[in-house]
Structures are given as structure tokens and as C-alpha cells.
């Protein structure tokens, strides 16, 4: 149903030349690649850990790990999924250490936080509420939704990033979307949802 070509064709990705230079620890290449992925990676981490300070720290930690593990990167693989898998591991480590954060696919979702005044003013009420409802989902659900709808990843890519079987990814997408549909239809009439 969603139009991948229209949504994701302009997504900035690293050029092969930049990856090769990054392998040689070229500082200029590093600046280029970090710049290209800055907003995508930060958005993914914010969706996953929610707190700006934690996302900020994980962002830096992810790039440190990229530099440390660059020799192990297989250039036949997608750099995007490799990068997001590193970010996923760092975020999961943090979420495991955090008290009160569920890594389980909970049927009973957390109560959604109310959207803050700024996001409500900047975005339409519907998307602000949807964002708040999404933030109320458990981490595995938030993760598959952002990887699919904001990163435009395919099932196989999401499975690679999250190191979960395809069947698990499918069921997470299905449950997350169904949960959001129930929450949104409970708030709005169908015509307001569309």
C-alpha cells in the first residue's frame, strides 16, 4: 500500500567511495558519512529510546563503533543495514540497563504520553497524536515501525538490523499497526483518520 519509490528515493546514503575512504580512517570521509546519516540515525534512535540525551549519546557511540568495526564491514552488504544494526545493538544495551523499559512485545501497551505543545503546534493534531501513540508502544514495535515507514526498509533488511527472524518481524509489524489502528479509531471517526 505504501509507495516506497515516492517516499524513500531521496534518502541520503553513503557513496562506495566514501565507505572505502572511511575504511582508511579518512576524517573527511567520516564527516561526509556522519552528515549524510545524521538525521536518519538520530530519528531512529529517538524513536527507540525516546530521550534526546540518550539518543545523542547513542548516536556518538554508534559512530565510534562504526570506526572500531569498519575493518569487519563486508562491502557486499548494505552499509545502511550494517550501520542501523550497530545502532540497534547499542540501543538495546541501553534499554536492557534501563529500569521500566520493556523489550518484550507487550500486548498491554504503555499509556501514550501526551504530545508536547511544540509538536502539536507544528504538526497536525492527527500526526502528533499518532506520534504520541507510537511512542507509547513497546520498543520492538516502535523499532519495526520506524524502520519500515521512516527508513523504508524491506522485511529482510529489518530482520538483519534487529537480528530477528522474518516471521517475528512480520508479526511485530502486524501487531504494531493493529494496535495503532485500534487506538486511532477509538479517538477519531474513520473520516477523520483518513
Amino acid at each position: 500500500m505504501i509507495d516506497q519509490a515516492a517516499n524513500f528515493e531521496d534518502v541520503p546514503v553513503a557513496e562506495p567511495d566514501e565507505i572505502a575512504r572511511l575504511r582508511r580512517r579518512d576524517n573527511a570521509a567520516l564527516a561526509c558519512v556522519v552528515g549524510r546519516y545524521q538525521h536518519r540515525l538520530y530519528r531512529y534512535l529517538r524513536r527507540l529510546v525516546r530521550e534526546p540525551a540518550a539518543a545523542d549519546d547513542l548516536f556518538q557511540h554508534t559512530w565510534l563503533n562504526v570506526v572500531r568495526q569498519m575493518d569487519h564491514y563486508d562491502s557486499r552488504r548494505s552499509f545502511d543495514t550494517w550501520l542501523f544494526a550497530i545502532a540497534h545493538n547499542a540501543a538495546m544495551d541501553l534499554l536492557r540497563r534501563r529500569t521500566g523499559e520493556s523489550l518484550e512485545e507487550s500486548g498491554q501497551e504503555l499509556t501514550a504520553a501526551e504530545p508536547d505543545a511544540l509538536s502539536a503546534a507544528m504538526a497536525s493534531e492527527r500526526t502528533a497524536i499518532l506520534a504520541a501513540e507510537m511512542a507509547g508502544l513497546s520498543a520492538p514495535y516502535r523499532e519495526v515501525l520506524t524502520l519500515r515507514f521512516e527508513e523504508g526498509m524491506k522485511l529482510e533488511e529489518i530482520a538483519e538490523v534487529t537480528r530477528a527472524p522474518l516471521s517475528t518481524v512480520k508479526s511485530r509489524v502486524q501487531r504494531a499497526l493493529e494496535t495503532l489502528r485500534e487506538k486511532m479509531t477509538a479517538r477519531y471517526q474513520k473520516e477523520d483518520l483518513l
Binding site: 500500500m1 505504501i2 567520516l30 564527516a31 538520530y42 539518543a55 565510534l64 499518532l130 501487531r175 486511532m184
Partner: protein, 148 residues
């Protein structure tokens, strides 16, 4: 499981654009005839479309610069460690080679003493020299860090 129930479970994946062509066709055929699934798919599609339009959290303006600085410091650190390791190995090799050169003197002084004892006497200073260089290097790095 009935066709309706089977298709019902595929609706979310259809809305997410994650079904293969065959399953997508099955969903299309079913929702054409089933009002309940048709309504559910429409709602799921609306949620999916809006998920792609969520306001994105913006990265702090200085995040890029801070990340570059942190990574550059890490790279310099690693380069320093490599440099230190090369120096330590070099010092050890040099000490060993220097000790090897004393073979003749050793024979002269000890007469028929065994080569094993001589090997020990040459290897120990080599390790000591490498260790001393490593310690000196680590001390210098600690001093450099404290001055930053």
C-alpha cells in the same frame, strides 16, 4: 482457519507494503467482497500513510561536530596505541640484536657455558627494554591527556 481469518491477518502487512505479489492479490480479491476487511484495510492504510509523515525529531545542531571530535579523538588514541606498540616491539628487537652481538664476549667470559643460559640472558633484557618503552609511552600519554 477460514479465508476471512487468514486474510484478516495479512491486512496490516498489505497496508505496510510488505506482502509478496501472490498474497497481495489474495487480499485484494477478498477485500473486494468483504466490507469488514475492506474497512480495516482502509484504516490500516491511513495509519501507515501517516506513519511516514510523522514530525521527525531534529538532531541538535552541534551533534555532528561533537561526534566528529569524539571519533577523531578515538582514532588518534588508536593511532597512538599502534605507535606505542611499534616502539615497544622495536625497542625489544633492538635490545635483543644488541645482546646477540655480545655472543663472542659471552663465550670468552664464560668458557663453555650453555647456549640456553646465554639465550635467557639476551631475552630478558629485550623484554625489559620493550616493557620500559611501553611504560614510558603510557606515562607520556597520561601526561598529554592531563594537559588537554
Amino acid at each position: 482457519m477460514t479465508t476471512h481469518e487468514t486474510i484478516r491477518q495479512l491486512l496490516a502487512l498489505s497496508a505496510a507494503g510488505l506482502l509478496d505479489a501472490a498474497d497481495e492479490r489474495r487480499v485484494r480479491e477478498h477485500v473486494h467482497e468483504c466490507a469488514e476487511c475492506s474497512a480495516a484495510l482502509e484504516e490500516l492504510a491511513a495509519v501507515s500513510a501517516n506513519l511516514g509523515r510523522l514530525p521527525a525529531p531534529m538532531a541538535p545542531p552541534d551533534l555532528l561536530a561533537r561526534t566528529e571530535a569524539r571519533v577523531a579523538a578515538e582514532m588518534a588514541d588508536r593511532a597512538g596505541l599502534r605507535h606505542g606498540a611499534i616502539l615497544a616491539v622495536g625497542a625489544g628487537l633492538f635490545a635483543w640484536m644488541a645482546a646477540l652481538a655480545t655472543w663472542g664476549v659471552y663465550r670468552l667470559l664464560t668458557g663453555s657455558a650453555g647456549w640456553l643460559a646465554w639465550l635467557m640472558l639476551t631475552t630478558v633484557p629485550a623484554y625489559m627494554a620493550a616493557g620500559a618503552v611501553a611504560v614510558m609511552f603510557a606515562s607520556r600519554r597520561r601526561l598529554e591527556r592531563s594537559l588537554l
